[in-house]
Amino acid sequence: MKKIYSIIAISGMLLMASCSKDFLDVKPQQSVLTEDVFKQMATSRAAVNGLYSLMQSYSYYGRDAMVIPEVLSDNATRSVRSGNRYTGLNTVTHTATDANVSRMWSQMYQVVTNTNAIIANEASIKNVATPLEQAEAAQLVGEAYAIRAMVYFDLMKFFARPLNFTSDGSHLGVPLVIKPITNITDVVYPPRNTAAEVYTQIDKDITEALSRLPTNGNVLSNGSVNNTLFKIRMNRFSTLALRARIAIYKSDWATAAAAANDVIASGRYTLYSFSSMLQDFRTQNSAESLFEVAYNTNDNPGVDSYAYLCSQQGYGEMLGTRTSMNSRSTGATLTTFRGLYEAYSATDIRRAFIALGNRNSLGGETNVPLPVKYINISTYMENTKVLRFAEMYLVRGEANARLAVATNNNALLTSSLSDINLIRKSRDTASATRPYAAVLTGTPPTGSISATAYLDSIIVERRKEFAFEGQRLFDLNRTQTNFVKISSGGNATSRLIQYTATTSSFYQRTILPIPVTQVQNNPQMVQNPGF
């Protein structure tokens, strides 16, 4: 018997010994240690997928980056029957504590830091790539550059004054963070760079991207061309399209025209046909898509989706504007208000993206424009269109028109008219018989408009084309256009926003504040004036 007890005692001691050193080395199961990510091609690819996934967030291209420029401009307003989403933004009384604004800032910078890591690990990725995968390795890094350029450009549009706010771009932009941060010892508390500095970095990133992305525009995956990724990952043409759009904001007309021309000349994209535009727009990987953020069943943004915000079967709170909404129970109406609905002629196919109807809620508005550009609230599988082919004609048209005015060049004006009229014709059957004609100088003859009026009409054309796609506010801002916004569907006060008139209390509110937390936890961060 005694033996048995000794065995028990000894086995107890053995139990102690069996707990060797690696007993405490427990590995995470749904995460990868940061230092291991770029040691394999598979995880490097996954890191690039992660960039697009972060862009899917409802705080970025999933919803807010599309909604805020609309609801803060004259295109959209919020229903009186609401769950209080975008309350401050809709009344242009948004503050630095606005949760949507704060989430958007963080989301965008999360994309930035993830691109930084990929860019910084270029050598490591190339090192683990097989010879067959070298082109793909370069492309992965190229995508990171392109995306970083896109995010910084978005950050600038939302959080900083347009580049032309000062003649040399010396006003505040956003902080440039371009080094990877993996350990708490890497944490930075950066100041805001000037607008010019940020745009210089953006241009540099575009150039770096173009030097790495496959020149034929294809997207490689697992070593070979994968056509299903052509429109949902950044490629050479979408990067050129981005360059074209950025150049417009920089008033760099020549670059804009050249880049847009490259995309058009690629021959890989076509405009939607008039008859099927509604369906085509809502189709994944549509003909016009240069870059869209893809949503699959597993992404399922649900109630946080853009479609859910718009749909009367969902929250249904976002409404388009129409001139008749411009009535108020007290005070004078604002006659300078231009509703989105009225911007279209009856024959414009794009007006069908706004359905006149009733708010689906007891006591809701009746006969108001309901946005139906994004409508899928069953599977939510609607890709967010970030860059669309039509924009290339509008960019080239605008760039050439502005160059024409600056250099008094009639040939460029003609070229511009051909681009703008192409879009008008393909969207509106009536426009086919009434093309724009414009003259550079003098009194326009019958059927023609002045060059200035023509330039304004291009901005209106952009409003019609990109309604609810998150471009309106920025077109107004960069062109320093006065506009009137209304803050509800008719029975509350409307509000006038005058961008250039410094007397307006809303003057400084056509951009977003730096989130209050970012000012509080970073001594170098300077708030935008007026917040």
């Binding site: 690819r45 996954a46 997928n49 996934s53 941060i181 350990n183 109630v303």
Partner: protein, 1015 residues
């Protein structure tokens, strides 16, 4: 000194004096005398409770020298002078003077004291007598736990223990209560105590995602002891997990002798306590309120009717949403256990079923439990102890918080003119609240969670030599949760849009611990005792879960297979491990002086490699002053002074928080994706906790009053906090060790036998009282720590100091709301945006809390009641600014959730002084979007009649025929009455520890009938 006694005795009233004159036996004849007037008295000391003999009772002659001690059978013999009185005493009994004796046989009946130093305390890895223990431990009497109708044993702590704040935020039975031992000790690493059941540090908290509570799976009737370890001497053996105190629970074991069977049954109702004036407005009130708002907005009263028409407001519909959402709930409990054994082996077996349906529709809870405990002496040297238990809990609830689908939210916010049904009276009206008609939600949504626990433990003890034993034990605690959520495709816009949703979640947690201990016990000299044990322990826990959701539900199906499109399919796994060595020693000299020390080294997988190991320790000392020879205070029978100091830790962070991580799940286009989610911190380590405790245990007036008084501090440093960094770094927070907090407090526990019965059936009155004050102070905080902006977490403040814009009431001249412009509150403004951003207001932590229990018994009846007070705290209504909108949202469906109490106090006429502003239709002065202020801050003080029990024991003569030992019938009520200081409150004042009132199911009262039968 004597005078003092009399003065104090007088305070207990004449009745006590009469009864305490404890002459049991009559003495009519003079005793047989010897020459010098001495008589010899023989007698017996027995317990008043069951007439069992009491040994070791000291029998002392008062005012003279000499005495004896009662023998095994309780008998004693002593010579006394005629006229002398005898004092009978023993530490655990109430002492008695006897001055008249029966010459043949004097029988002295003695009563057990309520709370005393001879109690055996259940401590970390050992048991110890209270008299020799140097630390602070409180024990909940198992009588309190056993028959309470609470779903979890944790709820029995409230009001019964000093130094432990226990609150229930939710009226969902079986939900997780907030238990805080000696204040708030941590910011991000958790402040809940460690729970150890039969030696297993168990999984506590919610594992189903539906506010279920694993600890509630323990059958209260199985609990033998529940001790709460509070200071370093008590907790330091749990090292890195001890900082927030330890709740140590042991379950019942059988006793050798005749087998016993115990059966209990309880049945009752759960009832709401919401008063009429706390409800929101009815339609006539609502319409009147809006009429005033319409006029106040500058509109003619004559156009009000057309406004109602334009907004399709029904004047005839008057829905009482409280009636629609609330109900009378049911409660019942069955418990059966059997125990017994012989000299070698014992057993205990139990089974129970518990059911409690909350008075909120759709919130139901039930559980079933099973337990076997056995002990066996295998040989002279080897013994075995083991147990096995299983439990099953089922919880049904609905979405809480700010969800449209939360019926409680709807109840407080929906307008009364909204109908429940369409005009046909049957079809749900879904044209408001985003389609979430609360009645439809309650009746169609099925959300339930099942939580299972199986645990087993076994231990072998081997006596190696005299005084030296080895113990090896292994225990496993397996938890499984499965929750099933079915959202009906007809209700709720978001659900209708996707054709219904089914979600399934399942989690398995395997938790094991292996402990080896060597114990040594010796005495040397005649006065020295030494006990020591050393141990080695390894523990591991691994969790896996699976979460799936599908949309597009086929009619009639209830599982994920019935869905047409999966929207979520995920699963995760995580694990952590801990390896420890520990040593504990206790030395005592002559039962006078005590010294204890313990040390433990923990190594945890959670921390960065360089900082895995840490050593924790404590030192304690005790002095039993009343055992000293020089001690000579008559009325203060026992005094023991003790103190301890030590160091414990808190490792309560996520398992991989020190590593730099890229997380999976950032998928794109159905391909896997990784994104950076966490920065590495190579220096992350434990939170450090330094408790100091000084306590005094006493017993006075012959044991009639006993208690303890404790003064403590505990300082926590290197707090694990989530520090906010600029999000340009890609993450918004990093986990670092930074900051410090201090808790200091005083605890007093008293037990008093106010009226001592003369006989077993006599009238008895016992009072238990405890009170606690604790002051929490932040002593160092990282400026980059960003917590909840509703609290002002700066140095010198406590952790839950409320911080809001200052609401200055209503301008009597025009009824507008006013806010303070400056910190001195000297100027006000009617424009919210120009108010001073935030002002400090009170704290969610109470100034004091305590319980007072009085128990009376007479013959077969027993009556007891407990009052619980929670005083001097503030509560913030998170949703107040959304509910009380002063008509500024117009006729939106949830525009106004003010209570009738506030309605009656609204501003209506110039000059009126009130704090409820006038309504202004579509006003801009206060808007629901961002107008949070101290207007929604309440005084949280309350006193509650927490428990009332009236019981009757059937006469034993009646029962003996049926071989029944005892039958007890009782009526019991919980939360029957609550005094709330702040009348503006419109829900129950018992809220979560952070002082937020947040649209949770209200805490309710329970009324029940019960029967206990012992065979």
């Amino acid at each position: 000194m004597k005078k003092n006694i009399h003065v104090l005795m007088a305070m207990f009233g004449l009745a006590i004096c009469l009864l305490s004159n404890t002459i049991i036996a009559q003495s009519t004849n003079p005793a047989s005398t010897s020459g010098n007037d001495f008589i010899t008295i023989t007698g017996k000391v027995v317990s008043i409770k069951d007439n069992q003999p009491l040994s070791n009772v000291s029998v002392k002659i008062l005012k003279a020298k000499g005495g004896t001690i009662s023998t095994e059978d309780g008998s004693f013999t002593i010579k006394v002078k005629k006229g002398d009185a005898l004092l009978f005493s023993r530490v655990d009994l109430i002492a008695q003077n006897v001055s008249v004796f029966d010459p043949k046989m004097t029988i002295v009946k003695m009563q057990e004291a309520e709370n005393n130093l001879s109690d055996v305390l259940v401590l970390a890895y050992s048991n110890q007598k209270r008299s020799s223990f140097t630390g602070a431990v409180s024990t909940v009497k198992n009588a309190v736990i056993e028959s309470a109708p609470n779903a979890s044993v944790q709820e029995s702590i409230q009001g019964n223990i000093a130094g432990v704040q226990s609150t229930n935020a939710s009226g969902q039975p079986g939900s997780v209560p907030n238990i805080r031992v000696r204040g708030i000790g941590s910011i991000n690493a958790g402040s809940a105590p460690l729970y150890v059941i039969d030696g297993i540090p168990v999984v506590s908290g919610d594992i189903s995602g539906m506010n279920s509570n694993t600890i509630a799976g323990l059958n209260a009737n199985d609990v033998e002891t529940m001790s709460i370890l509070k200071d370093a001497a008590a907790t330091s053996l749990y090292g890195s997990r001890a900082a927030n105190g330890v709740v140590l629970i042991t379950t019942k074991k059988g006793k050798s002798g005749k087998s016993k069977i115990h059966f209990t049954y309880q049945n009752g109702t759960n009832n709401n306590t919401i008063r009429e004036e706390q409800k929101t407005l009815n339609t006539p009130q609502y319409l009147q309120y809006y009429r005033e708002g319409w006029v106040n907005a500058g509109n003619p009263a004559s156009s009000y009717d057309s406004l109602l028409n334009a907004n399709s407001i029904s004047r005839t519909t008057d829905t009482d949403w409280f009636d629609q959402v609330l109900r009378q709930g049911k409660y019942s409990q069955y418990n059966l256990n059997a125990s017994g054994g012989n000299d070698k082996s014992t057993f205990f077996v139990s089974g129970s079923y518990y059911n409690s349906d909350a008075p909120t529709r759709g919130i139901d809870y039930d559980k079933a439990t099973y337990r076997v405990n056995i002990t066996s002496e295998l040989t002279k040297r080897l013994s075995f102890k083991g147990g096995f238990s299983g439990s099953f809990q089922r919880t049904s609830n609905f979405l809480g918080g700010s969800f449209f689908a939360n019926p409680i939210r709807a109840m407080y916010r929906l307008a009364p003119w909204l109908p429940v049904y369409k005009s046909d009276g049957q079809t749900y009206e879904l044209g408001y609240n985003n389609g979430y008609n609360p009645v439809a939600v309650i009746e169609t949504t099925k959300r339930n969670a099942k939580t299972y626990n199986i645990s087993g433990n076994s231990a072998l003890t081997y006596k190696i030599l005299k005084g030296l034993t080895f113990e090896g034990s292994y225990a496993i605690d397996f938890n499984h949760a499965f929750s099933s959520i079915q959202y009906d495709p007809r209700v709720g816009n978001a659900i209708v849009a996707v054709g219904g949703t089914i979600e399934n979640y399942t989690q398995d947690i395997t938790n094991w611990v292996s402990t080896n201990i060597v114990r040594y016990k010796t005495e040397f000299g005649s006065n020295h005792k030494l006990e020591a044990f050393a141990g080695y322990e390894a523990q591991g826990r691994s969790d896996v879960d699976i979460n799936i959701a599908v949309n597009g539900i086929a009619p009639g199906t209830s599982t994920a297979a019935g869905g047409s499109s999966p929207t979520l399919t995920t699963g995760t796994g995580t694990a952590n491990r801990l390896v420890s060595k520990f040593l504990n020693t206790n030395y005592s000299f002559k039962d006078l002086y005590f010294i204890s020390a313990s040390i433990r080294e923990d190594a945890s997988s959670r921390f960065a490699k360089n900082f895995r190991k840490a050593t924790f320790w404590s030192v304690g000392a005790g002095w039993n002053i009343s055992n000293e020879k020089f001690y000579d205070i008559d009325w203060l029978n026992e005094v023991k002074l003790r103190g301890s100091i030590g160091y414990t830790g808190n490792q309560g962070i996520d398992n991989f928080e020190s590593f730099g991580l890229y997380s999976a799940g950032s998928d794109y286009n159905l391909q896997s994706g990784l994104a950076q989610t966490q920065l590495a911190n190579d220096n992350l380590t434990w939170e450090k906790n330094f408790p100091i405790n000084v306590g005094i245990d006493f017993s006075m007036f012959k044991g009639r009053i006993s208690g303890s008084f404790e003064v403590y501090t505990r300082t926590t440093s290197e707090l694990l906090i989530s520090q906010s960094i600029p999000s340009v770094n890609g993450v918004t927070n990093i986990t670092v060790n930074s900051g410090a907090m201090k808790n200091a407090g005083v605890e007093l526990t008293l037990s008093s036998v106010n009226i001592l019965p003369r006989t077993r059936d006599g009238f008895k009155w016992v009072t238990d009282f405890n009170i606690t004050t604790n002051r929490n102070t932040i002593t160092e905080i990282d400026p980059a720590y960003v917590g909840n902006a509703n609290y002002n977490r700066t140095v010198g403040n406590d952790f839950y100091t409320h911080f809001q814009r200052g609401y200055a009431g209503v301008n009597p001249a025009n009824g507008e709301a006013l806010w303070y412009r400056d910190a001195t509150k000297s100027t006000t403004t009617n424009a919210f945006t120009t108010a001073l951003p935030r002002l400090q207001y009170g704290s969610a932590l109470p100034q004091f809390y305590g319980g007072l229990t009085n128990a009376f018994s007479y013959k077969h009846f027993k009556f007891s009641f407990q009052l619980y007070a929670f005083w001097g705290n503030t509560i913030y209504d998170d949703y107040g600014y959304l509910q009380k909108t002063d008509a500024n949202l117009g006729f939106s469906d949830q525009s106004n959730g003010m209570s009738r109490y506030e309605y009656a106090r609204r501003w209506t006429t110039p000059g009126q002084i009130t704090d409820v502003p006038k309504p202004v239709f579509l006003g801009t002065q206060s808007s629901s979007g961002s107008f949070e202020s101290s207007r929604f801050l309440y005084d949280g003080s309350y006193i509650r009649l927490r428990d009332v029990t009236l019981s009757y024991n059937l006469p034993s003569e009646l029962l003996s025929k049926y071989k029944i030992n005892n039958v007890r019938l009782y009526l019991r009520g919980q939360n029957l009455f609550t005094y709330v200081k702040d009348k503006r409150f419109n829900t129950d004042p018992e809220v979560s520890v952070d002082g937020t009132m947040a649209q949770r199911p209200p805490v309710f009262n329970t009324l029940l009938f019960g029967v206990d039968i012992n065979f």
